[in-house]
């Protein structure tokens, strides 16, 4: 009995101390436990737990320890928490407070009972004193309040998201509490993530409806940033990536397609807003053009002004309108207006532009290198050719041929670079022939070299006059009107020699001589001084006739040269009625008739030692237009046949519209032209009208 009493006595004594401890932990007035009392209490436990059974009260003490904590929790902690149940703030604060005092209590109690830890607990592998303290709290407090606490935490987070200032230390403590409870992941983090997800899902669904794309993205970014910042306060570091992922998912991934849609439609909306401004710009440019139009009636001035206007407004578009496509369009359309306006005049804008380019290119050459900028400028202007690309191409080829063949110090590299630029704008089909022309010239130089070698190896063949040839590929070059003429024997020799040479190179190609492109240098022995005359091949052939006689009748000349009357008239004009009068026409009238007589003008003289006599006039413009017309007919034919070959039977309207679509890349064919070609194809048995329906065509294979 003594021992029991002994235990009871000891326990009573201890309880006094423990009560003291509790009061201290509660923060109630009263003295703290001095080390002496600690020692006494410890000794009490020590004495009662080291005896041999049945005097070992270890188990009882262990239970008492447990009971003490439970009693403390039930009597103090829980009521206190219950009191604060309704306010999440107070509840969390109380919990944190209670938890920290509980820890103090457990710490101090376990000091007193420490001896149990040492033998009794280890021997029996029971939970340590600390663990008992913890599990008591968990079982009794945590399990009771955790739902409420969790809600409170989530509410707090939500409040903070809405911008309320939140006691961050408190949140941090709560987080630590959960970690210490070993319930962080399952009881807090998962719910927090879930809540975050649903929160942002709600947000996103309202934003996507109310806000613009940019606003949405801005808000999302803001949220992500804030969320990252916040997360360190209420989540364990490991939770951060999880949360960020959650937020990103809800805000961006879920609405990705909707966002893109929104983005697109909104930019259209913005564009629509900009339209009036673009229209104003367009009208302004058109007006500016109109002014220049009236001020400058000379073609070249007009084009130059237009280019200036273009440069000026291009700067506005790039600098002030952020290069927005809409403004490019406006500018484009404005220049389209200009294009059609000049098109109504005598010469089309396509032709004017070609002339302008020609001028730019020629002006720059000879003196200095054609700068890249200048080339760019040229090409920029060319980009405004939209409808009549084929006319432009034809004129351009004509001018290019002129530059390349008549040797204005032609620079192949420059030409090639312009052609490359054109290719980028209009495509390879468009520049195919031009490229061929430039390449021809390069190849031709090689031909010249090997021809010279050939002559050196065959001295017998060498003609008495110097001559060079340029070998061109038919098809690449514009078609030249040329007429045959009986060449003087010297030149015939040249032609034959070259023929002989060419046959050694290739056998299956046919040589056609275009005399109208040739130039000859001949010496005129005039009375005052000899003058070198630069003339065309035809002119040279005519002049050389006067080597034998000073006077020749029209009929003599015609029989000797074997040239038609019309061609001869132009030849005579260029030599007797133009600037330089090498021949004297008798009678001296402006019209050439078959009874005229021509005489070599030995009195003729000029200051220069060498003069270039302009070749007979040919109406190039008309020919280009005719050529283009012919090419268009072929193109329309080809398009119709291509379409009908595929469809076999097709209605008239459909055929016409498909035809226009196919050809629109090169030019805008008019319906009448297409109808005419359809009729032509019917006559040529490519098509026939359906017997029942006159508006249907059948393809005849």
């Amino acid at each position: 009995m003594k021992t029991i009493n002994d235990f009871e006595q000891g326990w009573e004594y201890m309880q006094v101390g423990i009560t003291k401890l509790k009061r201290f932990v509660e923060g109630l007035p009263g003295p703290a436990l001095d080390p002496e009392l600690y020692m006494d209490l410890y000794t009490t436990v020590y004495c009662r737990s080291r005896g041999k059974p049945p005097h070992d009260y270890s188990e009882k003490l262990y239970d008492k320890y447990h009971e003490t904590i439970e009693e403390y929790i039930n009597s103090t902690v829980l009521p206190a928490l219950r009191e604060k149940h309704d306010d999440e703030y107070m509840l969390l604060r109380e919990l944190v407070k209670r938890w920290s005092s509980h820890k103090v209590l457990v710490r101090d109690l376990s000091y007193i009972f420490r001896y149990l830890d040492r033998y009794f607990i280890t021997r029996r592998s029971l939970p340590s004193l600390k663990e008992v303290g913890l599990s008591c709290f968990r079982d009794l407090v945590y399990n009771q309040v955790q739902l409420k606490v969790k809600e409170a935490v989530i509410a707090l987070v939500a409040k903070e998201r809405e911008g309320e200032e939140i006691d961050r230390v408190l949140k941090k403590n709560i987080k630590e509490f959960y970690v210490e409870m070993e319930r962080y992941e399952q009881d807090l983090e998962s719910f927090l993530l879930e809540d975050t997800a649903s929160y942002y899902s709600r947000k996103a669904s309202s934003w996507i409806q109310e806000d613009s794309f940019l606003e949405y993205i801005r808000k999302s970014e803001e949220c992500l940033k804030k969320e990252k910042e916040r997360v360190s306060h209420y989540l364990h570091p490991s939770g951060e990536p999880k949360l960020v992922k959650e937020v990103e998912h809800e805000l961006l991934e879920v609405y990705a397609s909707k966002l893109l849609e929104k983005k697109h439609s909104e930019f259209c909306e913005i564009a629509r807003g900009l339209e009036p401004i673009a229209n104003i710009l367009k009208q302004h440019v058109i007006d500016a053009e109109g002014e220049e139009d009236t001020a400058a009636n000379q073609e070249q001035v007009l084009i130059r002004k237009v280019v200036e206007i273009h440069d000026k407004y291009m700067v506005y578009v790039t600098d002030c309108f952020q290069n927005h496509t809409l403004f490019h369009w406006a500018l484009n359309e404005a220049f389209e207006v200009f294009r059609s306006k000049t098109g109504a005049g005598s010469s089309s804008s396509a032709e004017l532009l070609v002339k302008f380019c020609d001028r730019i290119i020629l002006k720059k050459w000879g003196s200095e290198e054609l700068s890249d900028e200048a080339i760019e400028k040229v090409v920029k202007v060319l980009a405004y050719i939209s409808g009549d690309k084929d006319i432009f191409a034809e004129f351009y080829r004509k001018k290019l041929a002129h530059r390349l063949l008549l040797d204005h110090g032609a620079n192949e590299d420059q030409e090639r670079s312009i052609v490359t630029n054109l290719k980028q704008i209009f495509g390879g089909n468009f520049t195919f022939k031009m490229e061929g022309m430039v390449t021809d010239l390069t190849l031709s130089r090689e031909h010249k070299n090997s021809f010279n070698e050939y002559l050196a190896n065959n001295p017998v063949e060498k003609p008495r006059i110097d001559f060079t040839i340029t070998l061109l590929t038919t098809g690449f070059w514009p078609s030249y009107k040329t007429f045959d003429i009986n060449l003087p024997s010297e030149m015939v020799k040249c032609v034959e020699v070259f023929k002989g040479f060419y046959e050694t190179k290739t056998t299956c190609r046919k040589l056609t001589w275009i005399y109208s492109l040739g130039t000859c240098h001949i010496n005129g022995k005039f009375d005052q001084k000899p003058i070198e005359l630069i003339v065309s091949t035809h002119q040279a052939a005519l002049l050389l006739l006067f080597n034998t006689r000073d006077k020749l009748s029209y009929t003599d000349i015609q029989t000797q040269l074997n040239v038609s009357h019309e061609d001869l008239v132009w030849l005579f004009h260029s030599l007797s009625r133009a600037k330089y009068k090498i021949l004297i026409k008798v009678p001296s009238t402006n019209t050439v008739s078959k009874t005229d007589v021509f005489e070599f003008n030995s009195k003729f003289t000029v200051k220069m030692r060498r003069i270039k006599i302009p070749p007979p006039h040919v109406d190039e413009r008309k020919r280009v237009v005719e050529d283009v017309h012919k090419d268009r007919c072929y193109a329309i034919d080809a398009a119709i046949v291509r379409i009908m070959k595929g469809r076999k039977v097709l209605g008239h309207q459909q055929l016409v519209s498909e035809c226009i679509e196919q050809l629109s890349r090169m030019f805008k064919p008019d319906i009448k032209a297409i109808k005419k070609r359809i009729e032509n194809l019917i006559t040529r048995d490519y098509l026939e009208r359906d017997k029942e329906n006159a508006n249907m065509f059948r393809y005849l294979a």
Partner: protein, 208 residues
Amino acid sequence: MDSSPVSGRFDIFEIYRRFCDIRSGQVLCNYKPGDESQRTNYFKEALTQLLILVEKKFQARNSIFDELFKLMSRLDLMVDFSEFTRFYDFVFFMCREKGQKNITVGRALTAWKLVLVGRFRLLNHWCDFIEKNQRHNISEDTWQQVLAFSRCVHENLEGYDSEGAWPVLIDDFVEHMYSILGPNKNTRLFCNCNDADSESCLDEDPLS
């Protein structure tokens, strides 16, 4: 085809008979049916052969138009469309010269005046217009479409569909007519073919 030597008189009636045979496909009966392109080829070939024969053997005592007129007066052309259409095509065939596919404007005009009188309300306008504006020969398609045009169009140009596949010549004619008629399309100033009976003849079978 029937290229046997001319038996008996080779006159306009005989030529027309042969033309009709070819058109109806009787001469082609020994060829495989169903082969459309072959059929068309033989059809064309037969016509060409006939044309050669006509050029060689046919010596009209009068001009071909007199002969055609003679033929026309013998045929019962008022009965139905297809009979007249065949005759109309035959006229084109007879107007072809030297194997040409198209006929000259002069012949076309004479032929139209001969065969379309009373059938085409705008005939005089049409012929005036062609005389002044058309330089090129008339193709078979244009020839045939003129008949179709004459059938569907009224003197106020009602019935003409500008979206339709009319030959350009007819489009131009309509444009020209609009410029004469002015904006009021309903003006009835041009009742040149005022023979109301002939019109009804086209629409109704007088024998019924």
